[in-house]
Symmetry: C4
Subunit: 311 residues, 4 copies
């Protein structure tokens, strides 16, 4: 017990292994740097897992999973990212999320560029890591010829490209809608006066949401719904051998997942505010009104009753 307490005083559990002074020196107290470090790391983790899933499916020729395993992989990637960045940076991992949080006053605007920088950096580094890890597999798959389209295209491992039959208008709407659904549901998952996700279950809740978006809104253009997730790896592929075609493909598709998610994110959050959150009864009146509420809510009614039972 005593030892535990002494460890706790330092706020660190590795004390016994390095001199406390070393730890103290390494410890960063600047909030901004801490946030940037955490946001970079969690975006990196999400993107290594996420791009790895795509790389495996693309180079595996159907042997190592298919579209559904990409959906599961990206969903769980986001969940793990939320675990890693969690309460330090909030694990946005998505500039559209950060932007919406700023618009709704849940993040200070001065933090926005830091988040975007961290997210871009994490995505870029993850693209490089996956390139190294799957270099042999990609080479074996496409014979060393890195192409953006065609039967052996591999650029889609890293950034998103639209289906050939999609117009730019549909593609733009696709990215607006996808991000709107993301932010609308994120607001609901976090709305403590509604039916939020189980406390502690946020990472899995967000992961299931991303899995759902992939399963339902992914075929048009690969559900980037995230400017930094898309641009970082795209720039990496530009440098790594796929060339300027990564910006030209799909009638210059690259700017769509860069712009549309900002519009979609704010729209989705606004819709949730306008339809639900804005109209929650005041706290004062909540208790007196709670006798009425249950009549509309089957599951809730029972829960309320049980609360009373336990009292």
């Amino acid at each position: 017990m005593k030892q535990e307490v002494s460890i706790m005083e330092d706020g660190s559990r590795i004390q016994g292994h390095m001199a406390p002074t070393v730890v103290s020196r390494l410890k960063i107290k600047n909030e901004c740097i801490r946030v940037v470090l955490a946001e970079t790391l969690c975006t990196f983790i999400m993107m290594v897992f996420g791009l790895g899933t795509v790389a495996q499916v693309v180079t595996g020729n159907g042997v190592f999973g298919g579209y559904f395993s990409i959906n599961v992989g990206f969903g769980l990637s986001v969940a793990m990212g939320v675990h890693v960045g969690g309460k330090v940076s909030g694990a946005h991992m998505n500039a559209a999320v950060s932007f919406t949080m700023c618009v709704f006053g849940r993040l200070r605007w001065k933090m926005f560029p830091l988040y975007v920088f961290a997210q871009f950096l994490g995505s870029f580094l993850a693209a490089g890591t996956i390139f190294l890890l799957y270099y042999d597999a990609i080479h074996h798959y496409c014979g060393g010829n890195f192409t953006v389209s065609g039967p052996k295209a591999t650029a889609g491992i890293f950034a998103t490209y639209p289906a050939p039959y999609i117009s730019i208008y549909t593609g733009f709407f696709d990215q607006v809608l996808g991000t709107a659904m993301l932010l609308l549901c994120l607001m609901a998952l976090a709305d403590q006066r509604n039916q939020p996700v189980l406390p502690g279950g946020e990472p899995v809740g967000v992961g299931l949401l991303v899995l759902l978006i992939g399963v339902s809104l992914g075929s048009n253009s690969g559900y980037a719904i995230n400017p930094t997730r898309d641009l970082g790896p795209r720039v990496f592929t530009l440098m790594a051998g796929w060339g300027m075609e990564v910006f030209r493909a799909g009638n210059g598709w690259w700017w769509v997942p860069l712009v549309a998610p900002f519009i979609g994110g704010v729209t989705g959050a606004l819709i949730y505010e306008a339809f639900v959150e804005l109209h929650h009864p005041d706290l004062k009146s909540t208790k007196t009104q709670s006798a009425e509420d249950p009549e509309c809510v089957p599951l809730e009614k029972c829960k309320n009753s049980s609360t009373e039972m336990s009292v």
Copy 2:
């Protein structure tokens, strides 16, 4: 702390960004309107995700998931709908659920038409949204020829149609049984004196139930088990180019998912009442009897013991 408190007094977290008076004016205090707004939005969310999954699978020709991803997609769609409508409207998203709740006195009858209106509206709007989003894909898939049956049929993206080998009697039984299983299990998930779903886990619990129904009771007729989910998109397809065939197909199938779920829902709930809920011991006697209960219940016994341990 101070700032938080002041925010809380208003019951709104966006106070700092709009003038409080504006927020106060926009705020709707009428319970019925709040419920209709929430029920419309959550049905819309569920249906955009749900129909999106089907659209993606149908137009994807096997590349963007298959039947199992439709099951997962619809299950998670319902889970997200429950998060969105949650404690405001109860997120029935299904007229058969609302009807059963009314029959069992958990929803006032005067609310029933409001719920049906909201559910129909949300489903209809979602069908329109998915039509827009996947218009290019549908067009590319079927060459612009919108058909209800045949190899390139696309009406099944929106409403349900029976398998060709199903008689109308089997189809009716299919819808009664599916909805009965839904409501029976919903009652169990919410029964606080039995083994309810984890508090806060209701959305995922309901989602897993819908996934299960899809995986086990879906092949006969596409598991509508929901009158409003089926009629709204069917009316939309009537208007959007599929024509009167959407009401003629399957020997006039359309009325089956409209009628059978009401019968099934009440039946399922009644069966749960008759077999389990009605016979729960009175609260007074619960505590004295609890010493006996565990002998039949392996998992429970241990839990009870541990409770005693912690006391």
Copy 3:
């Protein structure tokens, strides 16, 4: 509030809709009947969902899911069964589970025949329900010729049959091992002094376990690991047109899932007792020893620390 309380006194929430005297008369207070009703219903629910999944996959010819969706379907079926039977009967739904509970003194022996009766009845009725529901589909699939083996065999929808290359010895070992893994893990999931499943998460925990058994130990003989689950539907198929072949097939396979699970269940539970549960430190000493424990347990250490932090 007042109304809620009055409802609670009766222990029933439907009071307002039927005369209380009627409810009181229908209410069954005999513990044995209550248990039989709940065990029958939950086994029925599990089996309707479970057999439905197999029926859908078999008759769907690959269009309505495959082996993995059977695994998911049966796992979730068990989870829903646990929700339905839950704290009333314990939702064994498996005579081997009931038998093992009796051997380990967690169920009275006099209850054993009642459980077996309820489980058999529920399984038999579920087989009949699925036969009705999928009669058209089965007929369409096999052309009305109900066979136990061959390319269009349909008996496997209801009961289990071994793979043709499995010897009876391997098959017996298969059923012993599968049930041993089931009971061993059930003991662990419920062991409150180890790492039990989340309180309230028992149904999903057990469901994931059954999914896992299907994914890893199912290909030899269809993972019955449950005497009543197998015999009830087998008897039904005997009567419904598949004939005596259901008992002759697989060199008279039918007795293996009837006998082996009892041996496996007790063995598995014994192994868990012998390796883990028997050696838990006494309660008195637990607290003093807890300072040591964490050193071996990474996740636990942190949890303990945090507990201290919150204190």
Copy 4:
């Protein structure tokens, strides 16, 4: 109640069935033996389930699941292992995890050889069990000719082998990266000052992590990321008829999953420490700073607010 208490005094629930003196004699109080027993059992459980999944897929020729079901199977296998070994041994089931725990002072070095011994023993015994269980199926699949490579290779059921196009450098990096991701995320899942997994949800959290690694980082060399998981079954196959080829294949691949995971595990944990854990604010200052924190964390903000609401 009285009976419960008396049972509890003994720390055992089987008291009524054996003479207490027998139980007392069988009870092992030596911490090291208890840990070895639990670690052996949980590794055995994990590996029986895990190898069973691979055996079923390989011998099933596509009928009994595919790569994705292996991912799901191994993920759930690890989850069940954590339930079984749980708070007794910590359920490392992986020498690289034990090693990293030692390096970070969360496990005493003197325990390390005991963990490795238990993990090797459990993996070896599981390989033997799966060999027995699937002997008929393997024989039927490959015609009795046990090979390490080629179209009917079966050695991959037990140990991992690299894809033919992978260089030894890529393979080494693959194992370092995979294990680094594992340990980095394990640290995050357990970091109580960040966004840890739900209390009680550790087994499922770790299982989802392993599922994710399989889905995203598995195609290069089968994601051993675990020295003992790989060596035990490899030695078994050497003895069971596959011969020395199991050590020669893949340019002598066997040492890579034996060495690389130790490097990866420590690296991953160090990265998490360096980017996140080291910089958590001191406990003293946490409370005063908590007014700031929420501004960066959307989900958290709401949770904090609600806490205040409930106060």
